[in-house]
């Protein structure tokens, strides 16, 4: 006799399905979290235990003190902070103005601009890097943070402007009209009314721009030379070549690099889903 199927309310599922769901998610979460976690674990091991499969047996902060005291790490950190800070502030601002313009105005040049923003995503580093190197050399911007800032802006801004357009599209145009009625000009409307409403979108843009600059390797290592000019990404590269065996120092440096990124991520992650949706669905 077939057992009658139990009727379930909407959104309920059998215990078996629940277990399967949780198991799958746990496996996926472990895979996602394990490599960064292992990095942290390794960084607390003495040099000689770097490849030990146990969790920390002889806890030590030696790797960290070595990296901070005996290498150029702090210089690189300073360089990265300057470059990435500038990139993020400028990037967020000009992505927002561009996004707002393409969301609210119809003007000659709109379509070419949209295409330009898409096509810019396609430029392989390889075709740009040599001429850009020459250009920056000509302008005297090699080994200067400004050179890297401008370069990173061209990488991050097209995608961010696109994302911001989607976000502004979701803000009712009546708000602009109300501002206009109250005597604000379009800049005033944008700055005083729309920007505060777009905070989640701005948070995602800031995160994306930050991570672009923080994690970029190719331009950073091509345009910045000399220990004292490197950014963290370039610095860690020189580390790998110099101290092949010193996994301890390397992991400590890597953790120190990842930590600020994780902090920024923690600050904006609440907004990531809503911000990115707007960008993706409405572009």
């Amino acid at each position: 006799m077939p057992t009658p199927r139990k009727v379930r309310a909407r959104g309920e599922r059998s215990p078996l399905a629940s277990v399967g769901l949780h198991l799958t998610l746990i496996v996926a979460a472990v895979i996602a979290v394990f490599p960064p976690l292992w990095l942290v674990v390794t960084s607390f091991k003495p040099k000689t235990d770097a490849f030990d499969t146990h969790l920390v047996k002889n806890f030590t902060l030696g790797n960290y003190t070595h990296v901070i005291k005996d290498t150029e790490f702090l210089t690189w950190l300073g360089n990265s902070l300057i470059v990435v800070g500038l990139t993020t502030v400028i990037g967020v601002f000009i992505s927002a103005t561009t996004g707002y313009a393409v969301s609210r105005f119809r003007f000659p040049g709109l379509r070419p601009l949209m295409w330009m923003l898409l096509i810019t995503q396609m430029f392989p580093v390889a075709i740009l890097i040599v001429p850009l190197y020459n250009l920056l050399a000509g302008l005297g911007l090699l080994n200067q943070p400004v050179g890297l800032v401008v370069t990173y802006l061209t990488v991050a801004v097209p995608f961010c402007a696109w994302m911001m357009k989607g976000y502004f599209d979701g803000i009712p145009v009546e708000i602009d009209e109300a501002g206009r009625v109250d005597g604000l000009n379009p800049f005033g409307t944008f700055w005083r009314l729309i920007m505060p409403l777009a905070k989640p979108g701005l948070a995602v843009t800031a995160f994306y721009t930050f991570i672009t600059g923080w994690a970029e390797v190719a331009y950073a290592s091509a345009f910045m030379t000399g220990e004292e000019n490197l950014t963290l990404a370039g610095g860690l590269q020189s580390f790998v070549n110099q101290y092949t065996a010193e996994w301890g120092s390397l992991t400590a440096a890597a953790v120190l690099i990842a930590a600020p990124a994780a902090v920024v991520f923690g600050l904006v992650q609440r907004h990531l889903v809503s911000g990115l949706t707007a960008g993706a669905t409405k572009s």
């Binding site: 996602a32 103005t97 561009t98 810019t120 396609m122 020459n134 390797v217 990115l276 669905t281």
Partner: protein
């Protein structure tokens, strides 16, 4: 759906602003003056982007295309040695570089692997992102925790992650091989065997790419109205039918954008390959961009002209892919 409303909203706004400005201009303004008066707000807002992109991408692009038509290399470009300034001596050679690229089996081999790499990476990361997002979109305990954990790889700078994976993949001492040996299985040359190296770079790239897909799909799922599912359930649609006929169409705008973008990014994914295997062993994991980079920054003498030609070819390939893809979507009724 979202596309339609946003466009009509935007159009209304455009019309409004045009009218608003128009009233204040002279009665018979010159065409340019009129355009300026109407659109200067918009133009001044996009100006920084246009200028920055124009200079930083426009100039190098033109210059790159020009270089690709010459025989420029390390030995004949303009350079300064000490106090001596040596002018450039390279010459215009027409399409020779392109002929060389296209008749070279290296190019076709690399192109084949690059396409495999792109398709496999995008398909896997989108598929996994889709499955996980659907799971996270249900009522489930610890949803916030799972979401945070699954997005975490995104927060770690890619080069740090890649470096960590290198640690794990290390042939003699890496954790993976130690675990395998613990289970009595021979060590695998993760990054030293051509096939395993390919598997490894794809695995790492998928690991890096899933969080972006997950977040995008999750956002897309949340924008699908719940009533659609209720109605479907009333009509007795099965879970699969609901997924097939409501979820999939609802995700299309998100999916089409993220798939195109991630295909472009993966095609040009320099850091993963370069930092994990440097294109090796041999050149088994070399994709087109890493090869072009090698030509102008690693090999000696540095061959700028060939590298530029590779770059132009890559750009053309991507443009073709993008146009074909957009066409296909448009045929199915997609906006944009």
């Amino acid at each position: 759906m979202a596309v339609d409303t946003s466009q009509s909203v935007a159009k209304a706004a455009g019309a409004h602003s045009a009218r608003g400005r128009g009233r204040r201009t002279d009665k018979h303004p010159g065409r340019l003056r009129h355009a300026l008066a109407t659109h200067w707000y918009a133009w001044s807002m996009i100006a920084p982007v246009v200028i920055v992109i124009g200079v930083i991408i426009g100039y190098p692009l033109v210059r790159g295309v020009y270089l690709s038509l010459t025989d420029a290399n390390e030995a004949n470009v303009e350079r300064t040695i000490g106090v001596n300034h040596i002018p450039a001596t390279y010459e215009f050679v027409g399409l020779d570089n392109y002929k060389a690229v296209l008749t070279d089996s290296v190019f076709w081999d690399r192109l084949g692997w690059t396409l495999v790499w792109t398709v496999v990476c995008v398909a896997l990361s989108f598929g996994l992102g889709l499955v996980l997002a659907n799971m996270l979109n249900r009522k489930i305990k610890g949803r916030g925790f799972y979401r945070m954990a699954l997005i975490l790889p995104w927060a770690v700078p890619a080069f740090v992650s890649v470096f960590t994976w290198r640690l794990l993949f290390n042939e003699r001492n890496g954790l993976f091989n130690k675990l395998l040996q613990g289970g009595g299985i021979d060590a695998i040359g993760w990054l030293n065997d051509p096939t395993w190296a390919k598997v490894s770079v794809i695995a790492v790239n998928v690991w890096l790419g899933v969080p972006f897909m997950l977040v995008a799909v999750l956002g897309g799922l949340q924008s699908i109205p719940g009533e659609l599912y209720e109605a479907a359930e009333m009509d007795g649609a099965s879970a699969w039918q609901r997924f097939r006929h409501i979820t999939m169409p609802g995700l299309r705008p998100v999916a089409s954008t993220v798939i195109l973008l991630s295909a472009i990014w993966t095609f040009n994914m320099f850091p993963v390959i370069f930092l994990l295997t440097r294109g090796g062993p041999g050149d088994s994991t070399e994709i087109l961009v890493t090869y072009a980079y090698r030509l102008s920054f690693v090999n000696s003498p540095r061959d700028y002209a060939a590298s530029a030609a590779w770059g132009v070819v890559i750009l053309l390939l991507l443009s073709v892919i993008a146009v074909v893809y957009r066409r296909a979507l448009k045929k199915q009724g997609d906006q944009w």
